[in-house]
């Protein structure tokens, strides 16, 4: 342990702590901008580049960046001397001198760490002005917008993309004033191996990286008399959207969310969880088949489009491994525009399927050509949790004040197995619940596979499924996925089933979720909420979902049938590794 003093208060911290951490311990918040720590994933961006966190340390001739200066025994730190405060204000002033200051029309307005700092430091007038960086805005893909004029060079995105996700398309480019974070040749993301996981967006403190925003498309659809507009909401949305409306992190907002969506004017409000149950039916069938034949193992889950694209680019040789089952979002779209359309007597092209997703990759997924039939996409518009919250706000809907409502039928019923899709390990657990019942032919009472839950990057374990040992592994975050795949490729490990989610922690930490600004306790709460939602339900196994059973009876025959394959399965294509 190390003893030091900060602003004349004694502090005792672990060796290796930084001044920032020590100050935090006694309730002093030193402002930061480039620093980002996600402790539960041991992810840290410690660039020391913005210099907004400088403090005075006795005996040092220059100021010390609190975020990366380790504490020493007997260190004397002053965080609020005039010298430190002036230096910080100058740093902010300089950053703003190379910044568009478009807050009022900025996607990040109200959620921006730079804006918040400016408000806290209250500069009143800016001293410095001069040349500003100018880059083309990258609007070419339908998931992410990159407006580098707003970039402050914190490198948090680079860390997310290269170190956490190991997708590796971002790098510092150029140097000096011309330095910027960019793709090779500053090409648009759409021409790279970006998987649109949106982890860079989640990391960006400012409005340089944001989602492609489709709110207005939804407004237009909702106001089009000729269209029948249905909405599906993903499992992870309900445990996060409340944060935007003053609900405590971890408060489950399912009923209020449904009520809000109805108020917005959707013709039907459905649940992606229904489709998640459907996914389990198909995927588990395929899994049991492969397991029995002992071929093409392990089976990899395929419901995360970010992960699928990662595999297509960087591990094309393993392309046979993922389950051919579509993701819940796409299954939902396919069923909505076939079974549901027929049931309602509507033409597929007259239905607009809107998805609310915690995810930016889902925007891209919906636009993949595999998911279009006769020129009609299965899913028309994808908005993120954040975009939906914005729509509610624009419409003056404070969901926290609404009476809870139920999802509509027939695509609204779901089980606990569908809910847990939102957390890392959930898809696998849902599949195991069904596989165990099917293999044993019983309705087993023990189906909480606690060992596959958690936020840690890679978990592997052997679970008993109807008496047989099934070796499973779970990875969340593509860097962890890469480690796992390397292990499989080299033959160092053998598994039967693997779940991979692109985002660290799974969809609850998706690139489209409300920003957490480094507060990982929020993620823990979201995770707890998901499992609480699951355990609160009476039906917790996908194959027991009555609407799913009805869908097979009325339309699809049985899991793995020809019709099911036509509608609910897909294929993968190797892509360039750059």
């Amino acid at each position: 342990m190390i003893n030091l003093s900060i602003n004349n208060l004694p502090v005792r911290v672990k060796k290796g702590s930084t001044i920032l951490q020590a100050a935090d311990k006694i309730g002093i918040r030193i402002p930061t901008l480039c620093h980002l720590e996600l402790d539960c994933f041991t992810i840290e961006n410690r660039m020391g580049s913005c210099r907004i966190c400088v403090v005075e340390v006795e005996g040092r001739n220059n100021l010390a960046p609190a975020c990366c200066t380790p504490v020493n025994e007997g260190m004397v730190v002053k965080t609020s001397t005039l010298r430190a405060i002036n230096a910080r204000r100058t740093m902010l002033d300089l950053i703003l001198s190379d910044h568009p200051k478009d807050c009022l029309t900025c996607e990040k307005n109200g959620n921006c760490e730079l804006q918040r700092l400016a408000s806290e430091m209250d500069l009143h007038h800016l001293l410095y002005e001069g040349r500003q960086s100018k880059y083309d805005i990258d609007l070419a893909c339908n998931a992410i917008v990159r407006d580098l004029d707003k970039c402050i060079m914190c490198r948090r995105c680079e860390n997310a993309c290269n170190n956490v996700q190991t997708v590796g398309i971002l790098s510092g480019v150029g140097r000096g004033f011309e330095a910027v974070v960019g793709t090779p040749g500053l090409r648009p993301l759409s021409e790279t191996k970006c998987v649109f996981c949106g982890q860079c967006v989640a990391a960006c403190p400012v409005g340089a990286l944001t989602e492609q925003n489709y709110k207005y498309n939804v407004w237009r659809a909702l106001n089009n008399e000729k269209k029948h507009v249905v909405v599906q909401t993903a499992p992870a949305v309900r445990v996060a959207i409340g944060e935007e409306f003053g609900m405590a992190p971890g408060e489950i907002a399912t009923g209020k969310l449904v009520a809000g969506l109805k108020l917005l004017g959707f013709d039907k409000v459905f649940d992606t969880d229904f489709a998640a149950d459907l996914t389990i039916m198909e995927e588990t069938t395929e899994f049991i088949d492969r397991l029995k034949k002992n071929e093409n193992l392990p089976i990899l889950t395929s419901c995360c489009p970010g992960w699928v694209k990662f595999l297509e680019h960087q591990f094309p040789e393993l392309i046979y491994m993922p389950s051919s089952a579509k993701s819940p979002q796409q299954m939902f779209g396919a069923v909505a525009k076939s079974y549901y359309a027929e049931k309602m007597g509507l033409k597929p092209e007259d239905i607009v399927v809107v998805s609310v997703m915690p995810c930016l990759a889902k925007k891209y997924e919906a636009s993949r050509s595999e998911f279009t039939r006769d020129g009609v996409p299965d899913v028309d518009i994808v908005i993120s949790t954040r975009e939906l919250a914005d729509m509610f706000k624009e419409a003056g809907i404070h969901i926290n004040k609404l009476e809870e409502q139920q999802f509509d039928s027939p695509l609204g019923e779901s089980t606990g197995a569908g809910v847990i899709f939102g957390a890392s390990g959930g898809v696998l657990e849902a599949a195991l619940r069904t596989a165990a019942d099917w293999l044993s032919g019983e309705d087993l009472k023990e189906f909480d596979f606690e060992e596959v839950r958690g936020l840690s990057g890679i978990r592997d374990t052997t679970v008993k499924v109807a008496g047989t040992d099934v070796k499973v592994a779970i990875a969340s975050g593509l860097g962890n996925a890469r480690k796992l795949l390397d292990r499989i490729k080299s033959g160092k490990a053998q598994y039967h089933a693997i779940e991979i989610m692109a985002c660290p922690g799974g969809c609850l930490n998706g690139g489209g979720q409300p920003y957490i600004h480094g507060d990982t306790k929020i993620l823990e709460k979201r995770k707890e909420a998901i499992y609480k939602a699951d355990s609160g339900l009476s039906l917790r196994k996908s194959h027991q979902n009555p609407d799913v059973i009805k869908l097979y009876d009325e339309y699809l025959d049985k899991p793995g049938s020809k019709k099911a394959h036509e509608l609910l399965h897909t294929h993968y294509t190797p892509r360039k590794n750059w």
Partner: protein, 176 residues
């Protein structure tokens, strides 16, 4: 919502396919390096490989970057990030005559600024540009260590010392 997300082919000339002999030379060089399983150690071979590649091809267009990235098992972004950082590397074609005006301190105080301005004016090029006929590229550089001859201009490997603005047309005319 339409999909724009499928990767596009690079529009540039593919030097790697165009010049198999050069490709072979580069390939042999990289293979002669001690490439192992340690990704980080392989990365240590990047800069020398890029030096070699630029020696062979004259510049480092996308196809060459991809080739090097692939051989060293690195991400393209890692290669591009490096190329864009070091002023020695360029991903743009260069002229037959590479004019470098030293703008190091010694040359600056002896009037390199006026010499550079005159080259810019005379060739109608900015620093870092190449003439449309690919004959001349104009660049500045920081000290070749021949400060006694300041101001110094290098055209390819030839050093001109004690250059004045007046000498500029002659130097250019010497490039037959």
């Amino acid at each position: 919502m339409s999909c724009h997300c499928d990767e596009q082919k690079p529009q540039e000339l593919n030097l790697i396919e165009e010049f198999p002999d050069k490709r072979k030379k580069l390939e042999e060089y990289i293979q002669s390096l001690d490439i192992g399983n340690n990704r980080e150690k392989n990365r240590g071979l990047l800069i020398q490989s890029l030096h070699k590649a630029q020696d062979i091809f004259g510049y480092l267009p996308l196809c060459v970057q991809l080739f090097v990235a692939d051989k060293l098992k690195l991400h393209l972004s890692e290669v591009y990030g490096v190329i864009s950082f070091y002023s020695y590397f360029t991903d743009k074609p260069v002229g037959k005559y590479k004019i470098h005006v030293c703008t190091g301190t010694a040359c600056f105080v002896k009037g390199a600024g006026a010499v550079l301005d005159e080259f810019k004016r005379y060739l109608n090029l900015e620093v870092g540009e190449t003439s449309a006929d690919r004959k001349f590229s104009l660049n500045s550089l920081r000290c070749v260590g021949a400060c006694s001859l300041a101001p110094v201009v290098m055209v390819n490997d030839k050093v001109y010392g004690k250059v004045t603005a007046k000498m500029v047309p002659d130097i250019i005319n010497e490039c037959a």
